[in-house]
């Protein structure tokens, strides 16, 4: 027993009380992403941390992909001293999926400080993932100091404006939006006039039956405006998407999973691969949350949502981990 304690203390390099054993526990929650499968034109999203409880039938569909978010490579504070390790853990979970996803979406904050070596590290880790294609949108941490020039150069050559684009996969229309540029004092995320104009044009000629997946860093719905968790001009894009039968919006930024359904639109936010943040209003600020590893699962309260298509509307089945 004393031998073990000695061992744990020896490994406490950061003097933060997190030893290797504790760290491995952290990886159980931190290395998370979401497995998304399109079934009958409706997107189902499952947290990878609950993956062992899923059955194969849940995973089958026309198209599947994985969403990861908020890797914050370069972050080294007590909330997670090894963000590279937890990103590797997320990749490990993705590679363990029995049905390989076709590609990955990264919904931003790839890096913590927009440093080239931070992006390099993430690129290197993601190379070991089974899905080879990764589609990115920037988080505010990815466009520091240079208005996103480096980000565009690395990840989105050929995209429009600040980096928005769309693509088709198996009949599903994916739209990557940028809402972290030109932020105004006191405001929330911003899409801006040019991007909205492009979006209106982009979806104009699509059939109403085309399933739409929108992904952007900051939530496109008002999660908690007091902490900046929302987008000022998000009503406009949602109006453009009203005519479609199935719209899914995937976001990051808030480092926790949340879901909401509004008419034909379902909203999801993904957990971070790096560190958790408090629930809206449950702390003085949305800063990184340091929680004992054993308590994390209950604090995070991971929730899965299964969307089942009814005749006219979407029915929602909400199941929690507890």
């Amino acid at each position: 027993m004393s031998e073990k304690r000695k061992d744990e203390l020896l490994n406490d390099h950061n003097h933060d009380g997190v030893d290797r054993r504790g760290f491995l526990k952290c990886m159980a929650w931190a290395g998370t992403g979401a497995f998304c499968v399109m079934k009958g034109g409706v997107l189902n999203s499952y947290s990878l941390s609950r993956f062992s409880e899923m059955n194969t039938a849940d995973m089958m569909g026309e198209l599947s992909f994985v969403q990861i978010s908020d890797s914050h490579m370069g972050f080294n504070k007590p909330a997670n001293p090894d963000v590279a390790g937890t990103l590797k853990a997320a990749v490990g979970k993705i590679n363990a999926l029995s049905s390989a996803p076709e590609f990955m979406l990264h919904t931003g904050d790839i890096s913590h400080l927009s440093k080239p070596e931070e992006f390099d590290t993430v690129d290197q880790i993601l190379k070991s993932a089974t899905p080879k294609d990764v589609f990115y949108v920037p988080g505010e941490h990815d466009v520091l100091n240079d208005d996103g020039k480096q980000f565009l150069e690395r990840y989105e050559k050929g995209s429009k404006g600040a980096g928005w684009y769309s693509f088709e996969k198996k009949g599903v229309h994916f739209i990557g939006l940028v809402n972290v540029m030109n932020l105004k004092a006191g405001g929330l995320g911003t899409l801006g006039h040019d991007q909205l104009e492009w979006l209106e044009d982009d979806v104009k000629h699509l059939k109403h039956s085309t399933p739409i997946v929108v992904f952007a860093h900051i939530p496109l719905w008002s999660v908690y405006p007091e902490w900046g968790w929302g987008t000022d001009d998000s009503a406009q894009p949602l109006a453009y998407l009203k005519k479609f039968g199935s719209v899914t919006v995937l976001n990051g930024h808030i480092h926790q999973t949340m879901q909401k359904v509004e008419g034909n639109v379902t909203f999801h936010t993904a957990a971070s691969t790096a560190f958790p943040q408090p629930a809206p209003g449950k702390a003085d600020s949305p800063g990184p949350m340091k929680v004992p590893a054993e308590q994390l699962k209950s604090v995070l309260g991971i929730t899965d949502v299964n969307y089942i298509q009814g005749k006219h509307a979407l029915a929602v089945v909400d199941s929690s981990l507890a």
């Binding site: 972050f75 504070k77 909330a79 913590h112 400080l113 927009s114 505010e140 941490h141 520091l144 100091n145 932020l183 105004k184 004092a185 006191g186 405001g187 929330l188 007091e226 902490w227 900046g228 003085d284 600020s285 949305p286 800063g287 990184p288």
Partner: protein
């Protein structure tokens, strides 16, 4: 430009103080100098503290980031009077206010964070 001039003035005052005064007097002058011309704004818990800071003309204000998350300090007047680079944990940014006026500013990464410096 204005900023470098006032830094030069401060440096000259410091050199004079160091050379010309005895130890007791020197520390008195230094303290008075500090009170008069340097003020600190702490960035903590995703907010600026104090939110509104009132200082006399010529004051150097230093912002220090005590959060685990990077922030910036960017003035929101049309001429963008001051703009820091990204401040990681414990990093600082200083600006000397040589003209009276009200200077609102914000964190361009977390724009809900706003503050104001009133120079009289």
């Amino acid at each position: 430009m204005r900023r470098s001039v006032s830094i030069a003035v401060l440096a000259a005052a410091f050199v004079l103080g160091t050379l010309g005064l005895g130890a007791g007097q020197r520390s008195y002058v230094a303290n008075a100098q500090e009170r008069m011309s340097t003020m600190e704004v702490k960035i903590d818990n995703f907010s600026f503290g104090p939110v509104t800071l009132t200082v006399p003309v010529g004051t150097t204000v230093t912002w220090i980031n005590r959060d685990d998350i990077p922030h910036t300090v960017v003035s929101t007047d049309d001429s963008m009077t001051f703009k820091s680079k990204v401040l990681d944990t414990d990093e600082k940014f200083s600006f000397t206010f040589s003209k009276a006026g009200t200077y609102p500013y914000f964190c361009s990464i977390r724009p809900k964070m706003t503050g104001k410096v009133i120079v009289q």
